[in-house]
Amino acid sequence: MNVKMEKQSEQKETTQQLTMVQAVNDAMKTMLEHDDTTIILGEDIGKNGGVFRATEGLQEIFGEDRVVDTPLSEAGIVGTSVGLAVNGFKPIAEMQFMGFVYPAYDQIMTHVSRIRMKTMGHFSVPMVIRTPYGAGIRAPEVHSDSAETLFTHMPGIKVVCPATPYDAKGLLIAAIEDPDPVLFMEPMRSYRAQREDVPTGKYSVEIGKGEKVQEGTDVTVIAWGAMLPVAKQAAKQAEQQGMSCEVLDLKTLYPLDRDLIAESVQKTGRAVIVHEAHGTGGLGNDIMSVINDTSFLYLRAPIERVTGFDVPVPFFALEEHYMPTPKRVLQSIEKAVHF
């Protein structure tokens, strides 16, 4: 399958070169234009355009009623979004940093994720919670958490995490159109790291589908979000040492693209999973279960995980030591290949 070809055939006539944060902005703009029940709520997202400028210019176009600077209260933002969502609106709630989602955790755990089930489908909450996550930009304490498993563990909410501008726009549009709640994680380290062609119109990237971003034969390297560039760099170094890596970008963390993982691991017989979140209770463990359930007899080496350590994300002077590095990933690739 040629991924690049498929992408091109989807593209509308015009494209723009956008960074990821611009692509996120463009997705929201597209959806605010497309559906007037779409509204954005968050701290500093209106007049200021967001602390990362993700909502830059949107309040000027769509007004204070649709791009709303809320009081400083995450539980308030998510809780009122539930009420808005069951009553005709499509809220996009911004949590300024993932480390500040915790006051809203109660609302998400006890209501956002359960309303459809407990009303047997009568009520649903078609809302998106967007949040920048991850370390690597020398941010102050608590600003650098990767808390995806607090949400992949939570039944009733989808978890999405793009690694590129194209996917950021397409996945965010899909998340906004999704009839169920979606947690949308944006790797802040990648916000301005790369520009690529992004279609100007409305398009979506399917939630629940990952992508093989590099073909290889010896080992499957699985990553998402900010760790995708790290995985790719390690794969390149491995290539120079004669180890051929297949790299998967998962894109959706719940539900997992089990077929993509199984197909690749059955071919290579080896897997290295990379994530920034802590190892214990990390998503890598669920991915190992997928491999165990689908591909055990194909394995030629134990599955390797390269993750953040089981310590609170440190102050920034030590963040480079906390996060998986290409060097650590390469070590695990070597270990798997030379098992």
């Binding site: 500093d44 200021n48 009081p71 020398r138 089981d310 310590v311 102050f315």
Partner: protein
């Protein structure tokens, strides 16, 4: 509500005493102490901004304009009391005895910056908004249970009053009548959101009414009203009369942090009429024969040297040690974490 909670002032912008009941209490020693500390923390603050611009520390949230609020309140405490600051309250913690080198280290991404000097009850700056308020209530509650006269002060901003932790903290303080000073610096913005959009209430002081907590609204740029009103609250707390909510109305002169651009959200010229608190105290000193040029020149030299040598010590500090990632998570590090540590140290040792 604005009538019920008028902004109390002791001196006006020109430094004239407008509440003569304090005439006797304001003496040269106090004036010099307040001036000294306000000058000291301003030098620190300006130095930190310039270091950030040169890439020598990380993102930094300046407190210029809030020196009177921070110095006046913290000097009303005794050395055994507790301080629960936010990220913007390093002026208060430095005045209370936090180490300046470590304060620089904090803004250079080092956990060493959270460690207070031995015997100083200074909690690490709370980054998640309003979370420190219940902590201060709990620490004060403990002092009450232990039968001491010590109190705790919680610093928080106008934006913090929107979080649940603010309301939960106030309610606990009220229910358990804890010796807590709830010290709000209403600097009129929470990043880009002006206080008029943060709340529909006209004052923050009035929020005390709902919890039956005595509250007062003061001019946070008048260091005397900050100092004497905080003293009153501290006295009440020590006497077992419970918490007080203080709203100090002030002004954040600069950006929210060095990563912020206030021209995006502040109307042009807003705040230009605010006389900064140090200038205001200077006016008072000049009006009252406390203006001692020689002394001022002397402390300026001393303070500049202090800040420079703290900075030098910060830059000479041993580099951050990766072992610290693992060593302080638990009293006894679990074996699985020890394994992670050893494997990692071995890997980087191969370099």
């Amino acid at each position: 509500m604005e009538e019920q909670f008028p902004i109390k002032k002791i001196i006006d912008d020109q430094g004239n005493l407008i509440d003569s009941s304090y005439e006797k209490e304001i003496n040269e020693e106090l004036v010099k102490k307040l001036y000294y500390h306000m000058s000291r923390i301003r030098l620190f603050d300006r130095k930190a901004i310039s270091l950030q611009r040169q890439g020598r520390i990380g993102t930094y949230p300046p407190f210029e304009g809030q020196e009177a609020s921070q110095v006046g309140s913290v000097l009303a405490l005794d050395s055994e009391d507790w301080v629960f600051p936010t990220y913007r309250d390093h002026g208060a913690t430095l005045t209370f005895g936090a180490d300046m080198t470590r304060t620089f280290l904090y803004w250079n991404g080092r956990a060493e910056g959270c460690v207070p000097p031995e015997g100083k009850n200074i909690f690490p700056a709370a980054v998640p908004i309003a979370t420190q308020i219940p902590h201060a209530v709990g620490a004060a509650w403990a002092e009450k249970r232990k039968g001491t006269k010590n109190v705790a002060i919680a610093y928080f901003g106008d934006g913090a009053t929107s979080e649940g932790d603010f309301h939960e903290g106030l309610n606990f303080a009220s229910v358990f009548k804890t010796p807590t000073i709830l010290f709000n610096q209403n600097n009129r913005y929470a990043i880009s959101v002006p206080v008029e959009k943060q709340m529909n209430s006209k004052t923050i002081a009035q929020k005390g009414l709902a919890y039956d907590i005595p509250s007062v609204r003061i001019d946070g740029n008048d260091v005397f009203s900050v100092y004497f009103e905080t003293k009153k609250a501290v006295e009440r707390a020590r006497q077992g009369e419970g918490p007080t909510l203080i709203e100090a109305v002030t002004w954040r002169t600069g950006a929210h942090t060095t990563a912020d651009d206030p021209t995006k959200y502040r109307p042009e010229g807003q705040g230009e009429d605010v006389i900064n608190p140090i200038e205001r105290l200077e006016n008072y000193m000049k009006n009252n024969d406390f203006w001692d040029e020689k002394w001022i020149a002397k402390i300026e030299t001393e303070l500049t040297e202090e800040v420079e040598s703290a900075l030098e010590a910060m830059e000479k500090y041993p580099p951050a040690n990766p072992e610290d990632l693992f060593d302080h998570v638990f009293t006894n590090t679990p074996s699985q974490l020890v394994e992670q540590k050893e494997a990692y140290l071995e890997l980087i040792g191969r370099e």
